[in-house]
Amino acid sequence: MTIAMRNALTGIKFVFLGLLAAAMLFPVVLTATNSFMSEDEIGRHYEALGGGDSAEAGKHAAIRLIPEQVSLSQFGEVLLKRPKFLLHFWNSVKLTLPIILGQAAVGTLAGFAFAKLAFPGRDKLFFVYLLTMLMPFQVTLVPNYLVADKLGLLNHYGAIVLPGIFASFGVFLMRQFMSGIPDAYLEAAKIDGAGYLRAFLHIVLPLARPGVAALILLSFVDNWNMVEQPILFLAETVRQPLSVYLANIAEGARGVAFAASVLYMTPVVFLFLYGEEHLVEGIQMSGIKG
């Protein structure tokens, strides 16, 4: 393979991946740019998508990336005139935060046990635990509902938070990550007189920091975006998180949907950028690759 061929190949790869990335990013960019359009402009561009009569066959939405006039009115509308948006935003926070914290606690402790403690039936138990992860949400939906009903948790955040905390993914991720930590470290700690708790807190946990960070990020994205559980478990609309509310905000006022979406994405984007290197590192070291 000559250098020229290699260069050409790199070029082709670059172009191909660039196009792919552009395609992936396009909706995000579109949402971001459209959030600066005025209500009017949005209405005109997306007339064809509106419900009912205006949705004529063969008519497509006019996709524009550059606003005719940059306007913050959508943001103003969402943040100032629709206190419901804020309410649902905090609902999301209220749902997501306990799940993340709980999952981090449960995941690290259980992961430590599964990775570093030898007890009979450990691997079998872990396999059973994994089974729940392999099943899609829809499969466990009915049992989940019945259990929540029995516990009197329906229409209560507990119905979402508790299963979220004990989700097997966190345990799985932490176990994989901690398996990568050499047993020698623990043995050394043991020789120096450290018990399990000390070993966990002072040896394993600091070493597993990237993994915990990755878990928090993934869990945040996962739970920030959940839609099915709230719809299923929370009857009152005022308790619904932003993810559910977002689907309804566009009713009658299409314009604000973009701004609301941008605001909705913001925490996720910020957190991702913040923990980007941990995420990559964490996932790499846990052995879950590609």
Binding site: K81, P83, L86, V238, P267, F270, L271, Y274
Partner: protein, 358 residues
């Protein structure tokens, strides 16, 4: 890398703090764009029907005194508004013309007496001569003469009485002189009263005009307190004697007449009444100016609260009411709860279901 993280940390912090601040301010921001209303709670009870007014006392009955003869007024003893007692002299007349007539009549009586004496003498002569026909005639003539003289006597007595009594016009009643139509020296005509005296015993009256709705609870015969504009002010008992439509009938106003029976009253005295009645209908008292009307009737806007996601929100809704009674500015109505607040004022026009602040 570290700087980027630092910046991101700040951004995340700002984002959440910003949303937190907006959440904190959300009700305030919302409130600024909502119409502001003032509310009031209705009072329970009947309607206060207040009748207030003042008028001037007029006598219920006036004695009109005429002169007994065509005399000149000698002296006027009382003037208008003087209080008089029964028997008080009011006016004296110059009765000299009547006295002259009396003397003439007396003279005529004397003449008739002389004539009678003369006829008696003639009768004596006839008895002596024995003329039976002449005697009978003469007896009858004497009798007639005696009758004439009796008539003349009565005439004189009448005249004497006239002079004695008519010479001084006396008040027949306790009361107040309301009119004097006499000047000293001028003759008083027979056709018109010389003096008018308001009769205390007949009482006094005054009238006021009141709103028909307000007056609806008044009944003829109701006792009322009447304030008299005197120094010192005093209050006397009165009663309603008449309720009739006021002159300008279309206004719905009523003219109410009160009787006041009390000693020491004067015509023209200012009298006022303030009567407060409770209407029979019982309900919520609502000022008239908050009432609105549409096809379905009268309604007021009431405020209800709903516990919204971010605190309590207030909404107005139409509440239809049944007007049971009304006076000048208030109605009594059904259809409202005692603790329901109704809107008295709003900064902008409001409609059914609008969210408001207050």
């Amino acid at each position: 890398m570290q700087r980027r993280k630092q910046a991101l940390r700040w951004l995340i912090g700002f984002f959440f703090l910003g949303l937190l601040a907006l959440t904190f301010l959300s009700n305030t921001i919302q409130g600024l764009s909502l119409p502001k209303v003032s509310v009031d709670k209705p009072d329970t009870g009947g309607l206060d029907l207040t009748v207030t007014g003042e008028g001037f006392l007029e006598p219920g009955q006036t004695a009109q005194l005429y002169p007994e003869g065509d005399w000149k007024v000698e002296r006027v003893l009382k003037s208008k508004n003087d209080r008089v007692k029964r028997g008080d002299p009011l006016v004296t007349f110059d009765t000299s013309s009547t006295e002259r007539t009396l003397q003439d009549e007396r003279t005529r009586y004397e003449q008739q007496k002389l004539q009678l004496d003369k006829m008696a003498d003639q009768l004596k002569t006839m008895l002596r001569e024995g003329d039976p026909v002449g005697i009978d005639n003469q007896k009858r003539d004497i009798e007639m003469q005696q009758l004439d003289m009796q008539v003349q006597e009565r005439k004189i007595a009448d005249l004497q009485k006239l002079i004695a009594e008519g010479g001084t016009l006396k008040s027949p009643v306790d009361g107040v002189v309301t009119a004097v139509n006499a000047s000293e020296g001028a003759s008083a005509g027979r056709g018109q009263p010389v003096v008018e005296v308001a009769d205390d015993s007949s009482g006094y009256q005054f009238s006021i005009t009141a709103d028909g709705d307000d007056a609806s609870m008044l009944r003829i015969g109701d006792a009322v307190k009447v304030q008299l504009d005197e120094e010192p002010r005093r209050t006397v008992e009165g009663s309603i004697s008449e309720i009739e439509d006021a002159a300008e009938a279309e206004s719905g106003n009523k003219r109410i007449t009160f009787d006041v029976l009390d000693a020491a009253l004067k015509p023209g005295l200012k009298a006022s009444v303030h009567i407060v009645n409770q209407s029979k209908s019982f309900g919520m008292q609502i000022p008239k100016d908050v009432l609105e009307q549409d096809n379905e009737g009268y309604f007021v806007y009431t405020v209800s609260e709903k516990d919204g996601p971010l605190g309590t929100a207030y909404y107005v809704s139409k509440t239809y009411i049944t007007v049971k009674d009304e006076n000048g500015d208030t109605v009594v109505a059904d259809g409202l709860m005692p603790d329901e607040s109704y809107v008295t004022e709003s900064s902008e026009p409001i409609g059914d279901g609008d969210r408001v602040r207050y």
